[in-house]
């Protein structure tokens, strides 16, 4: 691949020139060179619409789709498990594993029954299925560790149902779930093809509880992509080398969780009409960054670090500004930092005729309480809450990676005996 292609993919993934995920972040165990684009970015004028992303390796210590640079399209699908027994649950995870293993590699799917049965692939990507950078990241919710499958003793220590923060408006139908599948790929048809195939081979074992599509905007014009409020979102992600301290499950967690991480999804509606009625100055005071450049209000470019110590009264960056409250950049809050991998969403129109748009807040962290929940508790009542409404989502534990062809999702958990620790 040429340097230009590599750069284009990185830009499309929102990581060029930002303090976000560096190339070293690519999929943990993956050979990073394989991840980079062989085709031009889809969002670039004149790009080949048929270009696809190369395959992202499925097997590894960690799942892909966590440190993998953001692909352009995604879907977040929560499922309730309808299997009755531990064996059926194991079969469900095996079926998901096998399907994801095929989809992430791509190829021509065998059709053993020929014309005597419906085809095994929906065919929406053509006969020769492209991998198109697909990642399928599977997580489990706290509800899976109830009485049904004898897993209660093995629940990750911080895993819990998402209860509302004071400014939330969570719809139970769009919150929680036994499982969460994050599908990301080079384009939306690749994502939806994967969803159809995975649900097809798991019928009877699980039912979709909620499903949200998201897209990663291209850089406008450079750097980290913008959200619907026009601000660059995800600038201050920790670097991948901090993952042992900030991302992957801690030693204090049950042994089966090694290589996994907590996954936070929040469906945050953004009242864009209202936002567009606010002056740029006021918007910037709420966020703490320059809307055009992404720079903190005391800096000149998006990668600049804000210096709160030099501005204790908040004269330049208000004390209530989103970036200042979320990440005060003190020694104490350093261990709270999370890996954000957010997407924008658009789901039509609201009952009152306003656009239904928002942020698919999507983040990973080592410890829900110490990191995400601590940050969000601090953000309660921030000025921006008038313009947003978290309406759904959930807390999940993204499983350890599937190591090889003989392994399957959650194998380390499902082989533990019921009731014992």
């Amino acid at each position: 691949m040429s340097d230009t292609d590599r750069r284009n993919f990185l830009r499309r993934a929102g990581i060029v020139g930002a303090g976000a995920l560096g190339a070293g972040a690519l999929s943990g165990q993956a050979d990073s060179a394989n991840l980079l684009a062989d085709g031009a970015p889809q969002n670039q004028a004149g790009a080949d619409p048929a270009a696809t992303l190369p395959a992202v390796p499925f097997h590894g210590t960690h799942q892909a789709g966590i440190l993998t640079p953001r692909q352009p399209a995604g879907a977040w699908v929560a499922f309730d498990v309808t299997a009755d027994t531990r064996q059926q649950l194991t079969d469900l995870f095996k079926a998901i594993t096998n399907e994801v293993r095929f989809l992430t590699a791509g190829g021509v799917r065998p059709d053993p029954h020929g014309t005597f049965a419906p085809p095994t692939d929906s065919g929406t990507l053509g006969t020769d299925v492209p991998a198109d950078g697909l990642t399928a990241t599977l997580g489990v919710g706290a509800s899976l560790f109830d009485h049904r499958f004898g897993l209660a003793a093995y629940r990750p220590r911080r895993l819990q149902a998402m209860t509302p923060f004071p400014n939330d408006n969570l719809d139970p139908a769009r919150t929680g779930g036994d499982l969460l599948l994050q599908l990301c790929a080079g384009s939306q048809d690749t994502v939806l093809h994967a969803l159809r195939q995975i649900t097809r081979v798991t019928r009877g074992g699980m039912q979709i509880r909620w499903c949200e599509d998201g897209f990663a905007s291209p850089a406008r014009p450079t750097g980290v992509p913008r959200n619907h409020f026009a601000f660059k979102d995800g600038i201050a992600n920790p670097l991948p080398d901090a993952a042992p301290q900030l991302l992957w499950a801690a030693a204090s967690e049950p042994a089966w969780t090694r290589g996994g991480t907590y996954h936070v999804v929040r469906i945050i509606q953004m009242f864009t009409e209202f936002w567009d009625r606010v002056s740029t100055q006021e918007q910037q005071q709420m966020i703490g960054r320059n809307r055009d450049s992404g720079a903190p209000l005391d800096g000149s470019k998006e990668t600049d670090t804000p210096h709160y110590g030099a501005d204790p009264a908040g004269n330049v960056i208000p004390l209530t500004a989103h970036i200042r409250v979320a990440n005060p950049r003190t020694a104490k809050t350093e261990k709270e930092r999370i890996y954000r991998r957010g997407y924008n969403y658009d789901r039509g129109v609201d009952l009152n005729g306003n656009l239904d748009m928002g942020l698919l807040f999507n983040a990973f962290c080592q410890d829900l309480d110490r990191q995400y929940i601590a940050i969000q508790n601090r953000l309660v009542g921030e000025p921006m809450v008038d313009y947003i409404s978290p309406v759904g989502g959930g807390y999940f534990f993204a499983l350890p990676g599937v190591r090889d062809k003989s392994d399957h999702f959650a194998a380390g958990l499902l082989t533990l005996s019921s009731g014992a620790r």
């Binding site: 209860t163 509302p164 923060f165 004071p166 400014n167 939330d168 408006n169 969570l170 009242f271 009409e273 209202f274 009625r277 606010v278 002056s279 006021e282 005071q285 004269n315 208000p318 609201d350 009952l351 009152n352 005729g353 306003n354 009542g381 008038d386």
Partner: protein
Amino acid sequence: MSARLLSTVAALAAMAALTACGQTTRTTDTSAGPVAPNPAPIQTEQLLGPMGSYETYVYRHLATLRPQLATLQQDLAANNASAAKRDWQKARISWLQIGQDDQQYGAFGNLGGAIDGLAAGLKGGAHSAAFTGFHRVEYDLYTSHNLHAAQADTAKLRSLVSQMTPQTVTKDLALTPKSLDTWVLRCHEILEDALRDSLSRNDDYGSHMELASVSADVTATREMLSVLGPLIQPRMPGLLSTAARQLRTIDARIKAAHGGTAARERLNASVSAALETLAPVSEVIQITNANT
């Protein structure tokens, strides 16, 4: 072609070029006109009079509200559900006309939230003990149909409203530059809330009285524009008349809004249009260096 016509053509061409360069063209109805050149900066003292008028307005509505709540309490004691619903609605409208809804924007602080908060952000939702006030009683009357609970919750609501004294109101409407600026935001925020929470039924616990709520919100918005009018008029000469016309349109469309989707769309459109007009007010009526 005459010289005059030529210059007209040139002017039109220049306008067309401007439009092509991204000059905004709006629906005629939302045009509030330009800001007057070099508007005089607003001094804190200039907002004290309007704020005083608004406080008087608040006390007048509280004086109406308190006996309405007493009547509601009597309805419940008499186990009369239909009278209770009627009187809850009357009290609700009196409250909304003050210009506070659903604890948005922190008006009247925690007390305002206890009187008019939603269940959404509470652990346990509508079953939470922290869910109090108007919507709690609405839930009792219209959703759980529990008059016994409504009695206790109305007593709680009355107690909360009785705490809205000049002392507490003055505390929440403090006369600092910052809080005066926050207060000015209500020129548009009351109606923003009507669109976001009432017309979406996001704040509905069974009474379905969003049309009456929006009407009350329009009344409150009118009061804000009235007390701030003398400051707005010289700075945005076209705004008040446009806003007044648009608020009248909302009134008319509320009356017609029982007629299904098309009528509702027309109402939503009129509220949205008024909001576009009102958006600049808080920027123009802003105390310089109030961020302290």
